[in-house]
């Protein structure tokens, strides 16, 4: 049967070439499309994590629900000691956030002032690389502020501004700061409302020694993030809670899911067209071969043997097209993962979604390629069901008389 199928493939060139090419192009396109879609989503998430969020954060249990100074972590060092013992952690640091009013000569604005260790922060976030003017590692009462916030307050480098808020004992905390550096991460809300102060000075003003709003962690391997988070969870006290980036960035994770769904829906429509084209071509071809199947049946071939011939034909065509598609599509996906496409200005357009780079890489993943081509393969096999059923409806005599 197999030899007969090979012979048929070469004999019915038109149908074979059409099926081969459609399968090849759709599989290649699917591999490339999915790799670009996954690549851009992965980049979006990685960028957002890299900018400020980190991959894991530790909070006092009710901080994220209740907020306020009552729910701070009051013993940073104890948590740091636990983190030192866990493998796979790349870097960590603590942050103390407070909210208050910043006032320049003419303007006031509610801001988030965060006390950070600038050296450790440089290892965990993109704040240092986001420097626009002045200095990053500022000392004493120097502020490192979002560029958009500085514009809103109408101040530039070396200008003074006052800040009024609460210390962590809820007493009044106020000081005059000097603007020493500005940053732009591309995340508008963040750049429009955030300022950073070196931890030593912050602790003196807000009485936050050895306390923090949360501890932020980066891991060496993002794939092991959840495992490391569970290890941390076991090693720290019950009054602390560990959040992974999936918990922290739920809206972005949802956005990526929705975008993927729409991507797959558009691809599904495309595959429907391909499926019916292959089905119609296959059906026309098989209809024209009914007489041939009649002769084969009359010389003793059973229906199952005819089915085998048709299945072998589609299997050979599909598998050969898919193998070449894997080689071509996979190579393209791999190439663009290493050498991403650069689209000038894309980061400006999508900055609100955490895009901070103009590059659009692919995501080369063998498993994804495998399920992509498996889907194409399944569709091609499905396209044979009706033609097989159609051929089976003929008796040998009817088939031989078929015109």
């Amino acid at each position: 049967m197999f030899k007969l199928a090979i012979k048929n493939i070469f004999y019915y060139k038109g149908r074979s070439i059409t099926t081969f090419l459609l399968t090849f192009f759709s599989a290649t396109l699917f591999i490339i499309f999915v790799s670009f879609m996954h690549g851009s989503h992965k980049t979006m998430l990685h960028n957002a994590l890299k900018v400020y969020t980190g991959t894991i954060q530790i909070y006092q249990k009710d901080y994220r629900d209740e907020g306020g100074y009552d729910y701070l972590i009051f013993d940073n060092q104890k948590v740091f000691n636990s983190l030192e013992k866990i493998k796979g952690i790349k870097s960590y640091t603590s942050r103390v956030e407070t909210f208050g009013i910043a006032s320049s000569k003419n303007n006031s604005s509610a801001i988030m002032l965060t006390g950070v260790d600038f050296k450790k922060e440089a290892k965990i976030s993109e704040l240092k690389n986001a420097l626009k003017t002045g200095k990053y590692n500022t000392k004493s009462n120097c502020l490192y502020m979002g560029e958009d916030l500085a514009k809103k307050l109408n101040i530039s480098l070396d200008h003074e501004l006052s800040f009024v808020g609460s210390a962590i004992d809820y007493s009044f905390a106020a000081d005059i700061f000097k603007l020493c550096g500005t940053f732009k991460t591309g995340m508008y809300e963040f750049d429009n409302s955030s300022a950073f102060l070196n931890r030593e000075y912050f602790d003196g003003l807000f009485y936050s020694q050895n306390a923090s709003s949360y501890i932020v962690i980066n891991v060496n391997d993002l794939d092991k993030n959840n495992y490391i988070a569970s290890q941390i969870s076991k090693s720290i006290g019950k009054d602390l809670k560990v959040y992974t980036w999936q918990d922290l960035m739920k809206s972005m994770v949802e956005l990526v899911k929705v975008d993927s769904i729409f991507g797959y829906i558009s691809m599904a429509l495309f595959f429907m067209v391909i499926f019916f084209v292959i089905l119609i071509y296959g059906f026309i071809n098989i209809s024209s071969r009914v007489k041939e199947f009649g002769v084969l049946k009359s010389i003793g071939l059973r229906d199952i043997d005819i089915d085998k011939i048709l299945i072998y034909e589609i299997l050979i065509l599909t598998l050969s097209a898919i193998v070449i598609a894997i080689c071509l599509g996979g190579s393209i996906a791999y190439y663009f993962e290493i050498n991403p496409i650069v689209i000038e200005g894309i980061s400006d357009m999508y900055k609100d979604y955490g895009i901070i780079s103009d590059t659009v890489p692919t995501d080369f993943d063998i498993f994804t390629i495998f399920w992509n081509v498996s889907l194409i393969f399944s569709l091609n096999i499905l396209s044979l069901i009706y033609p097989i059923y159609y051929v089976r409806t003929f008796t040998p005599v009817e088939a031989m008389r078929h015109v």
Binding site: E66, I101, S108, S171, F172
Partner: protein, 241 residues
């Protein structure tokens, strides 16, 4: 049917008028023509407990001035509310800061009362429509719904008022979605001249089980003829000392 409608309309109008009268008398007890108070405030939260003392001067609902006396670290901090605007002077940095309207709902110095409560910008008489919902002897429960055009932070206040001397017993504050947010309870009513005022106010935020703020009014002087000097921006620094 017509008669019934007329009686119903008349009853509603009379009820609204009565509610307005009660609220006006209550507001008059709280504000007088002008009022000076010395207040002690105890603030408790999950991990902290602190006491503050302050003096306040107020004239009507548009002018008020506050000076913090205790703790020593915060002594001399002053607040001025004038025609729906609020300023704050901090002696440590010698700066006057305008508090944006968006921050009027923020907690005042770590307590469970807001900036708006401290300066009493919003007026029960001008900003809310009162309606009697329950009468129990001398205790009248009035629902105050925010007027559509009023710049107030609460959607609704349900106030229990003792009509013996027109003083508050309990206020429940609701947000715009109708959720109860906090409860004020009042105790120890005292007479100051011709006015009656509860001297212990307890504030319980309903979303923070461990928080409690208690205000004790230690001294009150009504209708003293407070000078307008307190209600100028220059007063922030001048009376800070």
């Amino acid at each position: 049917m017509k008669k019934l409608l007329i009686i119903l309309t008349l009853a509603l109008t009379l009820s609204a008028n009565e509610a307005s009268q009660i609220i006006k008398k209550l507001d008059n007890n709280m504000r007088g023509k002008d009022v000076y108070m010395k207040i002690s405030m105890s603030i408790k939260s999950l991990r902290h407990e602190r006491t503050m003392k302050m003096q306040t001067w107020a004239k009507g609902s548009k002018k008020s001035f506050i000076k913090v006396l205790y703790p020593p670290k915060d002594k001399g901090i002053t607040f001025l509310s004038l025609n729906n605007e609020m300023w704050n002077y901090i002696p440590k940095i010698e700066r006057t800061i305008k508090i944006p309207p968006s921050m009027m709902l923020q907690n005042w110095m770590g307590s469970d009362i807001s900036n708006d409560d401290m300066v009493k910008q919003s007026s029960l008489v001008d900003d809310y429509n009162p309606k009697i919902i329950k009468k129990d002897a001398k205790l009248v429960t009035i629902e105050l719904d925010a007027k559509d055009d009023a710049a107030v932070v609460w959607g609704k206040i349900v106030s229990v008022i003792n009509t013996t001397h027109y003083t508050n017993v309990k206020d429940t504050f609701y947000d715009e979605d109708g959720n109860a947010v906090r409860v004020f309870t009042y105790a120890k009513v005292k007479k100051f001249g011709k006015y009656y005022l509860p001297t212990i106010w307890t504030i319980k935020p309903l979303n923070k089980k461990n928080n409690l703020t208690t205000m004790t009014i230690e001294d009150v002087v009504y209708d003293k003829g407070i000078s307008d000097k307190y209600f100028r921006k220059s007063a922030l620094k001048r009376f800070s000392r």
